[in-house]
Subunit: 453 residues, 2 copies
Amino acid sequence: MTHRCTIARLTGLAACLLSTAAFAAPSAVEMAQTGEDPALKITEDLTTEIGPRMAGTEAEAAARKWAVERLRSMGFANVREEAYTMPVWVRGAETAELTGPFHPQKLAIAALGNSGSTGADGIEGDIAYFPSFDALKAAPDAAVKGKIVFIDNQMKAAQDGSGYGYFGRGRFVGPNAAAKKGAIAIVIRSIGTDSHRNPHTGVTNFEAGVTPIPAGAISNPDADLLVRQWQHGKPLRLKLLLTPKTLGDQPSGNVIAEVPGSDPKASPVIIACHLDSWDLGTGAIDDAAGCGIITAAAKHIMAAGQPRRTIRILWAGAEEVGVFGGKAYFDAHGKERHAVAMESDFGADRVWRVDFKLPEGAAGLADRIAAALAPYGITRGKQPAGGGADVGALVESGVPTIDLQQDGTRYFDIHHTPDDTFDKVDPAQIRQNVVAWTVTIGLLANSADAELP
Amino acid sequence: MTHRCTIARLTGLAACLLSTAAFAAPSAVEMAQTGEDPALKITEDLTTEIGPRMAGTEAEAAARKWAVERLRSMGFANVREEAYTMPVWVRGAETAELTGPFHPQKLAIAALGNSGSTGADGIEGDIAYFPSFDALKAAPDAAVKGKIVFIDNQMKAAQDGSGYGYFGRGRFVGPNAAAKKGAIAIVIRSIGTDSHRNPHTGVTNFEAGVTPIPAGAISNPDADLLVRQWQHGKPLRLKLLLTPKTLGDQPSGNVIAEVPGSDPKASPVIIACHLDSWDLGTGAIDDAAGCGIITAAAKHIMAAGQPRRTIRILWAGAEEVGVFGGKAYFDAHGKERHAVAMESDFGADRVWRVDFKLPEGAAGLADRIAAALAPYGITRGKQPAGGGADVGALVESGVPTIDLQQDGTRYFDIHHTPDDTFDKVDPAQIRQNVVAWTVTIGLLANSADAELP
């Protein structure tokens, strides 16, 4: 109880819920602000010692083993893997070349997850140019049939990352639409805001019954080149080689660790990130940093003293390719009580806004959290929190959630590219994240039974 | 004469050398400031229609054909190719992987020009780490023999690009030093100032009698990773596959065009850039932009009226791999008189300083040029001008030169990488270059016989 009070006091909360004696040890928030930075260390070590960890592969399994060892060595309880299987897709060779009407030029391309294969000999075809996904949707089949579709809209940076959903449709559902209209392949401008020759991969999905066509993303400078050639008004030819494979169902798993609470009857706080990454980079900002942030916050709270509620850490597997880890967690634990579920999966830049989706009885709790976060430059948003992919099923089932919204201005420069490497993590900003999470889950883990389910 | 005077007047020069009637047409500098921008257009079209143009390859030949057509269509006189042959090296497969002590991780690598081959099966060896080229030089052979050398020093950005010479030694002569000490291969941190997964290639040279070893550059984030692994203090293993080839002597060539002067006895002004590029990017800033800048300036002067001296434009071939075009020009024309020789080969960012190396009689000319450039934010440097690679032999033989120094702060972010693409060219800054060149060569081409040889 002492500790709960200490955490509350030092996070800027005036009222001490269950006041006891004065407490001399450093608070969790003090440690988060000035002590060691396990968030940065986890990010550094996971990207250095494991690197890319594609869902369902040996690399993801090595990452799970690494995760279990690291979480145990940090002193967490009940550290374990929870296994499941999921369908695995792996990248093959990938090249693209504009072959006419000008001198041939190679393009930097990456296959999208679930892309079909061109076969080892590749294919060549005319480009059917569409300025946007909507233009492709509106096009008659005849404009697409037998051609290689190109979708050109360029995502713009926004602090809340809000362009991703809109522009991302070209990737999420563009290949399916192109396949249904008879395209032989699809190439999209990367869903990204940078200007480097590093394509942005990511998953795409084909409806049941639609045969996957080869689907790739080219980098923004390559898309610019394609468009400049297109503007000459002559038929544009593209040679494409993409040889990804599907390996059927393979083992994957979640890694779970806990800070046991003092009150065995209290429902737990669950905090999530994902351990898997795309294969092109080392998954530093997506999402080693998220795992670092939530785990560092839990560690600081644990070090400052036992919270009332258990804090459960979920390093989910196989998020990138279809949230299989999040679904497996829900299948195994969805019927248990959860006080609140949160996720960190938007990089490592600073938290700038907090959004809530809490039950009515938690209005005071939300006020306390918002007030405690304000000194760190974090404002209170007006929209309901969404949670995050790996806690999505929990949130949908009614579990409360809070979003500590990270600044996404440069997130989509790096997202799903070879450039997702440790050097992109700003030590000062990741530390601010840890402080914000420590403040928030400190208050959540010591909240009253009447406030959360 | 009228035109010469007009140019002089509108470039800010008070005295009109050979004053005649008033002149109503727009001046060259006015056109450079506000008219069409042939510099940007040349850069755009060369990178769009040809792309990478490695010396001695079919792509460079296509670029020469393109260049001749473009220069003729712009109205230049005496447009021609001047052929020579040069030894050609071409890139093969290239992969690198850290294989221990941690989970294997692939590195983004590019072979250096003149690199040896690992053979199709690749090689694997222990890393011999050196913080700098000097440390490698000082090391006993036993520390290197049978190992894969890694040189780690990271170039820092500078406006004058001055780090390139110092840090670049790791690339220029590091492989030769490593080979002589018995290394089986060498990998260097890219000579570049960015943090993207795009390695910086560039030429290296082995002494006669030294067998080339495989030599590659890894990107800065990959070098960071290697160093973080190295810091664990365990032996570090690297698997390397580089299969470049040498093709012996192949045809290359210079492209030359002229603005004929009115005085056939006056020595010509020669302005240079290079047409070839590295193969990874499209050679936009290195050096399509340079060709664009000098050619646009000559075009504006030609359009404003005939200068007294001939302006000779040299789009040199095969600069990147050993300045073969510059040497061939000198072999063919080195004994002719040249008033002055200049080159643009440092990107497309603004000119910020002007340096001179002129004969004593040209002190007034230098003052006039410096005064005319000042309104464009260009200061006068205190060091002698160096010229540029393709006019290097001319300058060494005594031909005067002037450097319009470009801002190199971001040049080595992009230099010799896949990222050297058209989007990196800032239209406002390339236009400022054209204005500076128009001002300068306008004054040079109308200078007196007593001022230049």
